[in-house]
């Protein structure tokens, strides 16, 4: 009789459904809102007060198209200045960027994987372009060499580049190669003039789980006519070369990220072209389930430069140190409150004019996800 009951009960048991959908759409998002208190923008925008509110909404529409194919995007709507790297001006701008929007083919078996992407991609140079989301970045700002989408301010854009990329991993080794339409130091969209192929390659080795070291290089034209380049000159003669190493170490409640980078800019009519070196180390410690503290100590050094009209080399700009600290408080699973302070200062100065106090309330939104069948 017990067997009969068991069979009867089994007949009523629910049917099996696959846990993972082969086809579906997901729309996770991160809303970050808050403000900065600083005098950093006083010179550029004298009418603005020291308090600037802002926000960033990151939406990640994604489409899964079977076992191997997917489409991924990262769309950014923001009211700037919101991040310390935007604090050079307080002119409020509502901006929209397609940071990533690519189709991808992915295969994995055991410890081997291969992903090929085509579309708008994050730069494959360095490690921070994987951590731009405010839920992932424990601090308020970005390392000093990462930033804005325009030419001339930062060596590495965080706003994506059109191109193709292949990522592979084999056991402890991972590698990537990326071909883009423009330089991470001068990103251009697919419709702009002056596009020129740029190569980026990187590799890493996981010494053990939680300890990885990597390196990356980027090379390609970046100058554009009107700024340093005459209409008759070819940008490919004066390329931009970047090389960097990065490391990630995690154990228990401590995580440390670090990078060291060297950027070499070639300019026409320069006898000595400038070199920028930058390194940072970023420890994060979880103090209790709700609270963490993170710091970033960065140092940027600038070489001398000399144009053919200068009698002798001159200093490009004084070396710069940027120290950031932030506390993060998890209000609940979906919300994180970050309070941070940034001290940027050049060698030989202790000017607090550009210091920035910032607050961000970061909300993760994972509500929308639908399997097609």
């Amino acid at each position: 009789m017990r067997t009969a009951i068991l069979l009867l009960s089994c007949a009523l048991a629910p049917w099996g459904l696959a846990q993972e959908a082969d086809y579906g759409v997901a729309l996770p998002a991160t809303l970050s809102a808050g403000g900065m208190y600083s005098h950093a923008w006083e010179q550029a925008t004298p009418t603005a007060g020291p308090l600037e509110p802002g926000f960033q909404l990151m939406v990640y529409p994604s489409l899964k198209l079977g076992e191997h194919w997917y489409v991924y995007s990262a769309l950014d709507v923001n009211l700037s200045p919101y991040y310390p790297f935007q604090a050079d001006s307080a002119t409020n701008r509502l901006e929209f960027y397609v940071i990533q929007a690519f189709a991808a083919y992915h295969r994995a078996k055991g410890s081997r994987s291969l992903t090929v992407k085509a579309g708008q991609l994050s730069s494959a140079f360095g490690s921070f372009p994987l951590r731009y989301d405010d839920t992932v970045n424990p601090l308020l700002g970005a390392p000093a060499t990462y930033g804005a989408p325009s030419y001339g301010n930062f060596p590495v854009t965080l706003y994506g580049l059109p191109g193709v990329e292949a990522d592979a991993s084999l056991g402890r080794l991972d590698a990537r190669v990326q071909l883009t339409n423009s330089s991470p130091a001068n990103p251009k969209n697919i419709l702009q003039n002056g596009q020129a192929a740029n190569w980026t390659a990187g590799a890493g080795y996981s010494i053990r789980q939680g300890f990885r070291v990597g390196m990356s290089v980027n090379h390609g034209p970046y100058l554009q006519v009107g700024r340093f380049l005459l209409p008759s000159e070819n940008a490919s003669q004066w390329p931009f070369t970047a090389a960097g190493v990065d490391g990630q170490w995690e154990k228990g409640r401590v995580a440390i990220n670090g990078e060291w980078q060297r950027f070499y800019y070639l300019y026409p009519r320069y006898i000595i072209s400038p070199v920028i070196k930058y390194g940072y180390i970023e420890p994060k410690v979880v103090l209790n389930p709700r609270l963490y503290v993170a710091c970033r100590f960065g140092y940027e050094s600038f070489s001398d430069f000399q144009t053919n009209s200068m009698a002798e080399p001159a200093e490009l700009t004084p070396n710069r140190q940027v120290t950031e600290v932030a506390f993060g408080y998890r209000i609940n699973r979906a919300q994180l409150l970050k309070v941070g302070y940034e001290w940027p200062h050049h060698d030989g100065t202790l000017n607090s004019h550009n210091n920035i106090l910032g607050v961000q309330l970061v909300t993760s939104i994972n509500a929308i996800s639908a399997a097609f069948h």
Binding site: M1, I5, L6, L8, S9, C10, A11, L12, A13, P14, G16, L17, A18, Q19, E20, G24, V25, A26, P28, S62, K64, Y70, Y72, A104, H106, A108, S111, R112, S113, T115, S127, L130, D167, S169, G171, D174, R176, G204, S206, R208, Q209, G210, R212, G214, Q248, E250, K251, G252, R253, A255, V286, N288, P289, R290, R333, S364, N366, S369, A370, A371
Partner: protein
């Protein structure tokens, strides 16, 4: 629905009239009548570098593995146990677990990538940090209640631990059956908790000598819905 009702009636009949009766016993069955677990839309781990991340589990869902049944309230002596929630293929296994208060739950990592298991629940908050494959961390649960468990690094990983104030808890068998024995006579609140559908509570009276049967239909079917 006719088949369902008939089956339940047959089952009740067999349990109430054909089994020998034991003092203070609850026999029950959990029936999950439809697929309740939402399929996940998980993309490959595009935002990480390093060793290849495991693909999320693709095996079929057995809805009954996502159910626990327990009695509410303090009843007799509590016997703490040691249980396990494993992190494997970017999932918690099992995704729902019942343990009596005072129990210890181990969270071994079986993936070649890090997880960061945490809970902000009032009953027990913890953050286990990063630890590699093949190692584990343990948490002791001293207060009864529900503890939601998540991973900081994989937002679609979640588990639920129901900490009971007594030793009467069970995960239904593959057929949905469960049994609580050795109960003093009286009224009891029986709870069936499905990870996605939530909890269903039934008040039943256990006689001084004998067995009482209870059936949980998940999701709950109301009389109106039956018509």
């Amino acid at each position: 629905m006719y088949i369902l009702r008939t089956t339940v009636a047959v089952w009740l009949g067999m349990n109430l009239f054909q089994f020998p009766a034991f003092a203070g016993e609850i026999r029950g069955v959990v029936q999950v009548s439809e697929g309740l677990t939402k399929k996940r839309v998980a993309l490959p781990a595009y935002q990480s570098r390093g060793m290849a991340a495991p693909e999320p589990g693709t095996g079929p869902i057995d809805e009954l593995t996502r159910v626990v049944v327990y009695l509410e309230g303090s009843i007799g002596e509590v016997r703490p146990v040691t249980a396990e929630i494993r992190q494997r293929n970017r999932r918690f296994e099992p995704e729902i677990l019942a343990v009596p208060q005072g129990s210890t739950v181990s969270f071994p990592n079986s993936d070649p990538v890090f997880h960061n298991v945490f809970s902000l629940s009032k009953v027990k908050s913890f953050d286990l940090g990063y630890y590699p494959a093949g190692t584990t961390r343990t948490v002791r649960f001293d207060q009864p209640g529900a503890v939601q468990v998540y991973c900081h690094l994989h937002s679609d990983m979640s588990a639920l631990i129901v900490v009971t104030p007594n030793r009467f808890y069970a995960q239904p068998s593959s057929g949905g059956a469960f049994k609580f024995t050795g109960l003093p006579a009286g009224w009891y609140s029986v709870v069936a908790w499905h990870k996605s559908a939530g909890l269903t509570r039934k008040k039943i009276e256990v006689p001084e000598d004998g067995s009482v049967a209870v059936v949980f239909e998940i999701p709950v079917v109301t009389n109106t819905a039956r018509k």
